[in-house]
């Protein structure tokens, strides 16, 4: 069956429908990763977005049990050149098509994704709708539909919940956390407590954690001013690390600014440079917003990592605190493991602060 992607600028792409039959709208973004579609689909940072895969063959190894980054698909829809009819892998549980049907996730295959990618690259990521009905009114209606993109959708429904282990106690503030972050913390035996995004500093401190982790999450960080005071308090009292959205919030909490990028960084072949060592690392990236490097002047922040080509700020340190954050995902999943050492540095920081 035919299905369409209509972009806000009027471009129309025709392809074949798969997955859910529902029509949706969302911001159309692309990822250049050649593996890891399942992680991408379930990554909460992509909540509400329509994901275009530049790799033309998606679903080759099916859907596995271990590769989810959250409980459900987070993207609104997927767009691919081709979806594998017959996947093959020893861990494969079902086809991507079947998964999309089960999870009520709409998709289009058979479109010229390279043309689409170049259009987004040149004009910036923009709203789009996915529909089987090209009728003008229908399309307009879809565009007008409010996209519910409240943080409360993403954070845990509990006020807090534990994920116990026998290492340092880490309070995680959940803005839409990816499983891989918790996996990395857990690998290092962190005794985790996960808090809702609107948690107060006092609540966090009352749980006597050794450190704080600001998670990743979707959306525009500048709309999150109400969570900043918590961070401002915590960064002075405990070792703190932020990832992705957490990086942006830490920047905002310290007086810097963020901006929406033209089409973002989504993929795993972006190298970042650790400015303290001069070494480069390939990192998993999934951000549409970034910390404005010019806004760092006059704050107590310094650039730690930057993307080597466009010099986007990819990591910051707070000068007078035990606090740092990275824009990329050192936890990878999908993508390279090059920057896992950032977690080790976090745990080292915790160890040092405990000594004091």
């Amino acid at each position: 069956m035919e299905r369409y992607l209509v972009l806000k600028n009027g471009s129309v792409y025709k392809g074949h429908a798969f997955g859910s039959k529902k029509a949706v709208n969302g911001e159309v973004v692309f990822s250049t990763g050649m593996t890891g579609y399942q992680e991408t689909i379930t990554d909460p940072s992509y909540y509400g977005q329509i994901m275009v895969f530049t790799n033309p063959l998606i679903g080759n190894y099916g859907i596995t049990t271990g590769d989810d980054e959250s409980l459900h698909p987070q993207v609104k829809a997927i767009i691919a050149h081709e979806i594998a009819k017959y996947p093959s892998n020893y861990r494969c549980k079902m086809t991507l098509t079947r998964y999309a049907e089960k999870q009520d996730l709409p998709g289009i295959s058979g479109i010229d994704t390279r043309r689409l990618t170049k259009e987004i690259r040149d004009q910036g990521s923009m709203p789009g709708v996915i529909t089987d009905d090209l009728n003008h009114e229908n399309v307009n209606q879809l565009f007008d539909q409010k996209t519910p993109n409240k943080l409360s959708d993403m954070t845990t429904i509990e006020n807090s919940y534990p994920a116990p282990n026998d290492g340092p106690k880490i309070a995680i503030i959940d803005y839409g956390i990816k499983n891989s972050i918790m996996k990395q913390l857990s690998k290092r035996h962190a005794n985790m407590v996960v808090f809702q995004s609107n948690v107060s500093a006092k609540t966090v401190l009352d749980s006597y954690p050794d450190a704080v982790m600001l998670s990743n999450g979707p959306g525009d960080p500048e709309k999150m001013s109400d969570v900043l005071p918590t961070i401002q308090t915590l960064e002075h009292q405990l070792p703190l690390m932020g990832i992705c959205f957490g990086n942006q919030l830490l920047a905002l909490a310290n007086g810097a600014k963020t901006y929406k990028m033209k089409f973002g960084h989504r993929g795993f072949n972006h190298a970042v440079k650790d400015l303290t060592t001069g070494k480069c690392y390939f990192t998993s990236q999934n951000h549409g917003y970034a910390v404005d490097r010019n806004s760092l002047k006059g704050t107590n922040l310094e650039t730690w990592f930057e993307e080597i080509n466009d010099h986007t700020v990819e990591g910051i340190k707070v000068k007078d605190c035990n606090a740092f954050s990275v824009q990329f995902h050192p936890d990878a999943s999908p993508g390279p493991h090059d920057a896992l050492y950032v977690f080790d540095q976090f745990f080292e920081m915790i160890k040092q602060s405990q000594k004091k």
């Binding site: 017959y86 093959s88 020893y90 480069c280 080509n309």
Partner: protein, 1050 residues
Amino acid sequence: MPKRMDIHKILVIGSGPIVIGQAAEFDYSGSQACLSLREEGYQVVLINSNPATIMTDKEIANQVYIEPITLEFVSKIIRKEIPDAILPTLGGQTGLNMAKQLADSGILDELGIELLGTKLDAIEEAEDREKFKDLMKQLHEPVPESQIATNYDEAKAFVEKIGFPVVIRPAYTLGGSGGGFVDNYHDLKKIVTLGLGLSPVTQVLVEHSIAGYKEIEFEVMRDANDNAMIVCSMENVDPVGIHTGDSIVVSPTQTLSDQDYQMMRDAALKIIRALKIEGGCNVQMAIDQYSGQYYIIEVNPRVSRSSALASKATGYPIAKMSAKIAVGLHLDEIINPITGKTLAEFEPALDYVVTKIPRWPFDKFTTADRTLGTQMKATGEVMAIGRNFEESFLKAVRSLEVDTKYVFKPQFQKLSTDELLKQLMPAQNDRLFVILELLRRHVSVNQIHDITQMNQFYLYKFQHIIEIEEQLKQNHGAKALKIAKQNGFIDDVIGKLWRKTPDQIRQIRTKQHITPVYKMVDTAAGEFESTTPYYYSTYEESDESKVTKKPSIVIVGSGPIRIGQGVEFDYATVHCVDAVQKAGYEAIIINSNPETVSTDFSISDKLYFEPLTTEDVLNVIDHEQPKGVILQFGGQTAVNLAEPLSKRGVKVIGTSVEDINRGEDRKLFDQIVKKLSLQQPKGKTATNTKNALTIANQIGYPVLIRPSYVIGGKAMEIVHSDDELQNYMQKAVNASNDHPVLIDSYLMGMESEVDVISDGHSVVIPGILEHIERSGVHSGDSMAVYPPQHMKESIQQKIVKISIELAHQLHTIGLMNIQFIVYHDQVYIIEVNPRASRTVPFISKVTGVPMVQLATHAMLGKPLEKMGYHTGLVTPAKKIAVKSPVFSFSKLPLVNATLGPEMKSTGEVLGTDNSYDKALYKAFVAAGFNVPKEGSIFFKVKPSDLDESLKLAREFKSIGFQIQADQSTADFMKQQGLQVAVKDPVNEIKHDELQVVVNTTDEYDLHTQKGQTTLNDVALEHQIPLFTAIDTVKAYETAIAGLSFSIDPM
């Protein structure tokens, strides 16, 4: 760190002649590296013995030495040039082995010369099996259980412990020479013994077999700052068990989850960091399809065939970057040339699928063992790019230029399903056609998977191709057509299914607007803007190949490297591009071979990586609307397109299609010969066996027989009797149905050839090449010398005169190759090839005449006179140059090593010096022969060679050789008063005491039973120089005599 200023002059070692396992890819990587070093301001000294390369062009390095890559000659060059450093990682295994030899000899320490790229201990750690295993243990990287054996008993003891199956891998050999899978003690003994013999360090690795696992390769780069990255991932469609050079390979990996991919990526990076390689490196791994357990198979600490493929697959120029890293630059200090904006520290993202299929020489070597295993047998490969696997795969299949353009072979249709299933394992070269035929018969994917262990993902893709084929049979609508085109079907195949001509299909789909678009290879999956002029076709929406206003010319390359059509045509193609650009046109290349210089996107204004079929070439021409197309430099592949393209209105630049035909068509050519009152061996054309017998008897045996329209003497034989003729007709007529068979009188004279350049008026002859072997040996397999050493002046004048007349008569514009036999002081014409020939790079280099450049300018309308060249023979150069062929027999069991009219060599080398004997010496040494001053020589000759061999034996004796011979040869020599030791050629010769074997008896003749060990086998197995033509022995003796002092009593 910025580039190093403490070094100024760098020696680059090339890879020498083309042999199986080490081919054109090193011309590509070597020339890229040299240019890249010069770009950084270093002086580059190059050594390579292979003249048929771009790399040995004067423009590539400051000093180019075409000399043997032996310790003797490389040391000489080093002492003369005193380089600061050597870059050995771009010349394949030859380069690394030479670096090791140089280091061992002490010259590097003595002169304080540094090895760049990979340090010596890293080479040893990667290549010495034991050290490698230790390193992997240290790194906690899994390797299959294994043990080094230096003799059979050690190997046996280990196998008794771990059990079969095991794999045997000899240390330090090209393309895994001499290894194999073994599941019984008989084979174990055979392969271990062979492997020990081939390994320069007499070591083999006996290893637990992981056959059937998924084989994965990573191309890895690292710089001195320890930045490391994956340039390209590749997945072998053929599981472990078949050498990766003989496997169908897909990039990027398709069936690895991110978890598996990253696990293996981590391992690859860990290894390159541990080896501290500065530059490119190849890591081969295997992963169990059922558990995800992976193993490291091996590491090549250098640029390899796979890195050439990876460079073309991703657009990321690995060799160029490796050279820059070797001089100290960091990845984040180098600009990625493909985007021109981003840095080289970037892991390419692909938005297409690449398929590589090897090209095997079994169309030539019909008796060869076609089984695929750990010994690579392919001579070349093709690559294709598509937006899905089916498209990419089918494009690759038709790029192969075998007897089909599609995954269908009639010979398999004839077999029963059981017979086909049996052919799946052990795999032979045409297994993919067997699989597709089985799927056509609805044999299940799972059944094929169970037998072959091929991943179902690919088998289902193959099944999809069959489904489309079935759909096409039933449905002739536009939708079915579009689906077929999107999945890589060509009009030819659709036409057959629809009972229409390809042209009709083309019309139908043009009407329906089903035409290809061209997409760019940009390393970034579209994320960054790129201006790289590197394109592939696909059936989608947006086109990215903008046609400029500048008039353009399309140049068709020569496709995969095969016997008879090698890297020399790539040399010609690249030079043609240069000339076309200099003449003010945009030069557009179409080619399908990933190993070559011509498919480097920086060579031409635009590169289309496409199959070289009429349809694919026509599509590009439709898109580009060039002024014309140049076909002369792409070998027979391109010339064969002249007629179909011209018929469809494409302007063929240079010699007209009619004149090409007049040169190639026997009857038409006979008329010209008559008209010019020239002589040619008596000959006629036969279309059936009866006809052939009559003709042969009229002419008189022996006759030379071959099909018309040949590349490199395919299926050509000298036939001595009716019996042999009948036998031949059965084979050959099968081989080429559409074309008749030519029967010529066989004249045993001196062969000679010339390449002429003509603009239609002036005819320039850069040089005359004299063949060392008399007629009967294919010109590609002959040694040859320039200028002629044994040819009378009057004969030379005659050859020049005839050549000029022929060029005029055939209205040659561009290049033409003419072959002659000089017999009883008469000049006979054997054939003309209205195109660039194999000898063009050799002659260009030794005469200094830029033949392809001149020819191209002439084709574009510039008179040769204006370029300073006049009709006639160019004054010969002072140096004497000898070309020697190089063979790959040790890699191809059951191939007849006896030279004959069928071409068998895979490469060539050049030896030049001031005297003939010295030039010969260098040519032999460069070709890999030992030239001993003394020792023993074994003769086994056919009756007609007895007299000459006696003379030679006497000469060998006088310079200090002991003579051995088989019974019949010895009988004759003894009769003539020569002392000879009689030995049984197979059982009695002691290979360690024998320096040369002469065997001119063809043991593979029609009466020899297969399976018997022959003298040739013994010689090849023990790497004793083997000569099968008496003239080569004479040349060899001349070379040795030049080194020897005579010892005569007063």
